[in-house]
Symmetry: C2
């Protein structure tokens, strides 16, 4: 198979992965709408996205495996294919976490709405933005852009800790709101996990572009 | 490089992955001891394991990548290398989840011990067993054994749901125990995530042995 054909197939694989990323982002947006707007239909809708995401994951994996098996790519293309396989797995887990958020949002609908002293809208927007920036970094092959995702993750971790602490105080002051507080704590943790997956994606982009494994080293790296 | 040398390197890679799996299991065992025995030193110890796990993860990944790049393996060996890379990632996440459990166990030490109506010891043992069986299935190349892990995951999911429900009732009946209940709910969720990672490992073993992608299909598959 000529190399030009191989490059076309890599471009097609990238398009498949982008479609997968769009599905994962839609699942997150839907689950946040379900929570923020108390919308049961939207919560159900996340399950449809999950089904589509699982099918898309298989399709991306199969194409990446076929290209690895048939083309025996070298160096930069090999790293790209391995990054695609890992990013694909993280996108699928973003779908899983979105389902978890939707389930907690549905559970919250069984209890009266209360005004909790936390704002998960901002945390959700930041998390969604991390996914978008990580995917844009993949599109542009931009390691610097990918690295900006790693610093955003620190903000999400901080918001999650603050949310946890505030809602524990709410539980103690208003035991009758314990269900609302508990489900909101879990949604905050799910968002924090989604941010971790976006961070993994960014690290895989850096691995692909730089050919260096930055995992677990970034905070101490000089560059 | 002669093929016999390649087979030796694959065996060496498998040994590296087994050492990684042993570290992940130790991290889980330590975190459970920290929770069950209210042992602060054991909770700290999980962080040491995490550092070792992160180093082991990089070492496995690098060797797998080098073998992919230099040997251009075909068919069954390619599938094995891809399975190793994915299993490696799941083992690293088991380490992360163990750290989360240790953090919650440390938080629990800041509150009086109370007798909650749940038994996470059994759930922890079942989860640890899932990891061991999944890794044994990898060692033996036994898809049937790997499939037994998938049914165990259903039990862990059920225990997690029951634990959540019981502890919500405790929170409502005993608001003064809300911190203990909340942290125990989160530990139960972490165990459920670890069981998911063990399930992923089992699916990757099946993928390697059978050459078929069973993800998201197992419950409806005839075989």
């Amino acid at each position: 198979m000529p190399r030009i054909h191989f490059q076309q197939q890599l471009a097609e694989l990238k398009d498949k992965l982008l479609a997968m990323a769009a599905l994962a982002q839609q699942a997150l947006d839907c689950s946040l709408d379900a929570y923020l707007k108390r919308d049961a239909l939207m919560a159900d809708h996340v399950h449809d996205h999950e089904t589509a995401i699982n099918a898309a994951e298989r399709s991306v994996d199969e194409m990446a495996y076929d290209l690895l098996a048939m083309e025996q790519p070298m160096a930069i293309d090999l790293r790209f294919l391995l990054a695609v396989i890992k990013i694909n797995g993280d996108l699928e887990r973003i779908g899983d976490q979105s389902v978890n958020i939707a389930e907690r949002a549905a559970e919250l609908l069984r209890h009266p709405a209360v005004d909790l002293p936390v704002d998960l809208r901002q945390m959700g927007e930041l998390t969604g933005w991390m996914i978008r920036v990580a995917i844009q970094a993949l599109l542009d092959g931009d390691a610097g852009m990918a690295r900006s995702v790693l610093t955003m993750d620190d903000s999400v971790d901080r918001i999650n800790s603050e949310t946890h602490q505030k809602l524990v105080e709410v539980m103690q002051a208003h035991p009758e709101w314990s269900q609302q507080s508990l489900n909101t704590i879990i949604i905050s943790r799910n968002l924090e996990r989604i941010a971790d997956h976006a961070t993994n994606i960014a690290e895989d982009v850096i691995f692909w572009v730089r050919g260096a494994d930055v995992r677990h080293q970034f905070s101490t790296a000089a560059d």
